[in-house]
Amino acid sequence: MSEEKQSKKLSIIAFSGDFDKLTAVFTLATGAASVGYEVNLFFTFWGLDAIKIKQGRSPVGKGFLPKVFGIFMGGLKSAPVSRLNFLGVSPKIFRYLMRKKNVATLEELVEAAKTLGVNFYACEMAMHILGLQKSDFIPEVKDVLGVATFLNLSEGGQTLFI
């Protein structure tokens, strides 16, 4: 049985920084980790916003353009929804509905993922473009990776791109 346990693995490429898509990432990650899967989250491009220490709009990043991006994109707390964002009103409505209906909010799911030992990784190339450093991210980010290492990590399991 231990062999069976080890072969259960889910790797997710978290590309999107959208509130709803990140909710899907963390729902799958926490659900899978809870039922015994090894879970690897590989954050790239806009997905990197989800793991920034500064969760609001902040000039994170080295250089002028990355700082401007940082302000516009923000972090987890300022993630827009992928449809009908209404200038950021919709994520607030979603959070209200999730709390009202006793469904875990995005922030609760992220905390659960940390507690359950989900592995967080950041994409080296996207970090380079956006002027981000490992120190800009939450300490749970284990490592900064490239494609080859991610492929090694995800080998033998299921992989999703969200």
């Binding site: 049985m1 069976e4 346990k5 729902t27 799958l28 926490t30 659900g31 980790a33 809870s34 039922v35 015994g36 209906k101 006793n102 469904v103 875990a104 609760e108 799911l109 659960a112 507690t115 359950l116």
Partner: protein, 75 residues
Amino acid sequence: MATYFLDITREHCPMTFVKTKIELGKLRIGDILNVRLSEGEPLENVPKSATEQGFQVISVIETETKGIYNVEIEK
């Protein structure tokens, strides 16, 4: 040996599994966790995943409330 209780009848996916996993992680060998859960996905999958993770499901009994079950899990 201690006995713990967890009620996940008001939780939804994935927190049903998340809360169970976190509580199971606190058990020492011989400890028991009683999970109160709803029929459907939690009933089908909480005992199954506990077994897969090396725990022993001692009993699954429907409570006095229809559709609500008590699952007794031992480490």
